[in-house]
Symmetry: C2
Subunit: 353 residues, 2 copies
């Protein structure tokens, strides 16, 4: 703390991202990265790009990338927003749409960055508990509100809600924006993108960091009514006009355009997730039904914190949250079949499992 800081930031508690270890040789199942490389077209972009172009500014409006995303989703370009990772898209969404006099409704347990934005922008929020089995019950999101945000599938629980529940929510909640954060949706949940043309208050946020294997390039995007997109554009152009560099734009386009690779990559992750779930259950873990590229698991006899440390001692990183209610769970990213076999083999050697 310093007397030079803006008063509003003195009590901020920033988001803590998962550890990015500086040492090699670890099996990294802690930040939900995709175990497979991005589409081959991404490599081709890098091979063919001349660094001379970098002296020029990129397209601040990312028109070509928006066009590729709109095509892929069956939407118009003015229904698409892109940003520097879905975190930036979320930050701008909180600024542009969710700073309202009435309270924002969101799950008590969800992506922890939401609460950081709530603090940063001084938003009035009301947290709704998950059910006992860690589900989001959208019927509980009712009454006067200035907006609703939830992750589908939810993080770190991995559980999804179905499209009918989202449609029902949108049918009864017409006076505020509903944001569905679909960072993990491609791994088996139903996207609300198909509802965009029916509900002018729906914003769907997705990312290239998970199913598209482009975490290293920082590209996120949102779909919504042109009025919602315009709000995001206005705030973006009042904060940072050029958040996506030339290579982020080009590699993202290459990733969107290769639909076959995308489908194959997602299928492999789902197959490995199913195998991993069975193996964990065999070892006595309770594993929530996942539609993501991670599983959220707990064991009745061994504390999650101890298991995390045991795995870490064996060079396997998984994520553990200390938040009450989920502090006896591990969030385990789905890696390659070999990595997951190493995880299961390691757990099998644990004296209490």
């Amino acid at each position: 703390m310093s007397r030079f800081w803006s008063p509003a930031i003195q009590s901020l508690v920033p988001y803590t991202p998962g550890e990015q270890p500086k040492v090699d040789g670890l099996i990294k199942l802690n930040t939900n990265e995709n175990p497979y490389p991005p589409a081959p077209g991404v490599e081709a972009v890098l091979r063919n790009f001349s660094s001379e172009r970098l002296r020029l500014y990129p397209d601040p409006d990312c028109q070509a990338l928006k066009h590729a995303l709109a095509e892929d989703a069956g939407l118009a370009t003015n229904q698409v927003f892109v940003g520097n990772g879905s975190d930036e898209v979320l930050a701008l969404t909180f600024m542009a749409l969710l700073r309202q006099p009435k309270p924002l409704l969101l799950p008590e347990t969800s992506y922890s960055f939401y609460n950081v934005y709530i603090d940063l922008f001084g938003i009035n929020a009301q947290h709704i508990p998950l059910t006992a089995d860690f589900r989001i019950e959208l019927c509980d999101y009712c009454g006067e509100n200035g907006g609703i945000i939830f992750a589908n599938p939810n993080a770190p629980t991995s559980v999804s809600v179905d499209l009918d529940s989202i449609r029902a929510l949108l049918e009864r909640n017409t006076d505020s924006v509903v944001v569905v954060d679909e960072a993990y949706v491609d791994f088996g949940a139903e996207s609300a993108t198909q509802l965009i043309n029916q509900f002018p208050n729906l914003l769907v946020i997705q990312t290239f960091s998970k199913s598209r294997s482009l975490a290293g390039m920082r590209v996120g995007f949102a779909f919504g009514h042109p009025d919602l997109i315009e709000a995001l554009e206005r705030v973006k152009n009042s904060f940072n006009s050029y958040p996506l560099d030339m290579l982020a734009q080009l590699t993202a386009i290459a990733a969107v355009e290769d639909k076959e690779y995308f489908k194959a990559c997602v299928s492999r992750v789902i197959e490995t997730r199913n195998w991993t779930t069975e193996q964990l259950q065999r070892l006595g873990f309770d594993v929530l039904p996942s539609h993501t590229n991670f599983v959220f698991a707990s064991h009745a006899e061994v504390a999650a914190a101890d298991l995390m440390q045991y795995l870490r001692d064996n060079k396997i990183l998984v994520r553990h949250f200390t938040k009450p209610g989920i502090d006896n769970h591990l969030r385990i990213t789905i890696g390659t079949p070999e990595e997951m076999k190493a995880l299961i083999d390691c757990l099998q050697l644990h004296p209490e499992l």
Copy 2:
């Protein structure tokens, strides 16, 4: 406007970046891009980078890049902040340090994005006029304030203030942060970086977009006391943890490390600026003394708006601002000698010059 927008953004007037034309064959002297490619090491980064790495998140703290910048400036790593272009660094600076009860002092004519941030964050500001000859007179920045920000050299005027004036300002203004935005400093002005260790309230902001020819990669940075840097880190980590992708970090490091190329590139631009200034003066232009990679020029007999249109009709883009007081000037980026010769040849054919 839409009923779903946050109330605070409904009256925002976003920043308008210079035009990025979609057609080829134009001489682009409108966005202050460097006419020369980035250092050869940048090309080497692209040639050697495997796209497989992109499935992983980048280092959120950009430690290697901070280290390279600290080395170059003779500072410690905790005196360095990096962001997604200097616009993002500025946005975070306004949030973290300049939202104060007392008014922010800034030049009436300067980088127009400052006023967008003032609106976005609801900052109380007091604008100080330039002198009649378009200089920033730092003696005028006095009295109670919650911070001071100015560009040195100033934009779009190209004129710089000397280091003694900045030191004198810092000696008398010890209770608020002084931000010196040095986007163009490498083209001949004196950087306040050398004062960082003496003044805990000094923040210097620079960019890779101009002198380092990396506008396409979006990298900016700030130097300051560790307490000021910590404020920026806290807000950055409450907004977007990973704003710099892997290639932005690596190409920026390559650009910092090649000091010889940097010096040679800057010298060439300065030489071309001097030639261009002489030629414009020969044609009757009044050209302000520039320490940037652009010149700010007016002509007593032909209106700037008309000249801009005439040049545009001849496929040469320059920037014209409609703001009263500077609406009879053109901001002309220094391109290659060939591009500047084409500009002068074109102006020479103007019937009234």
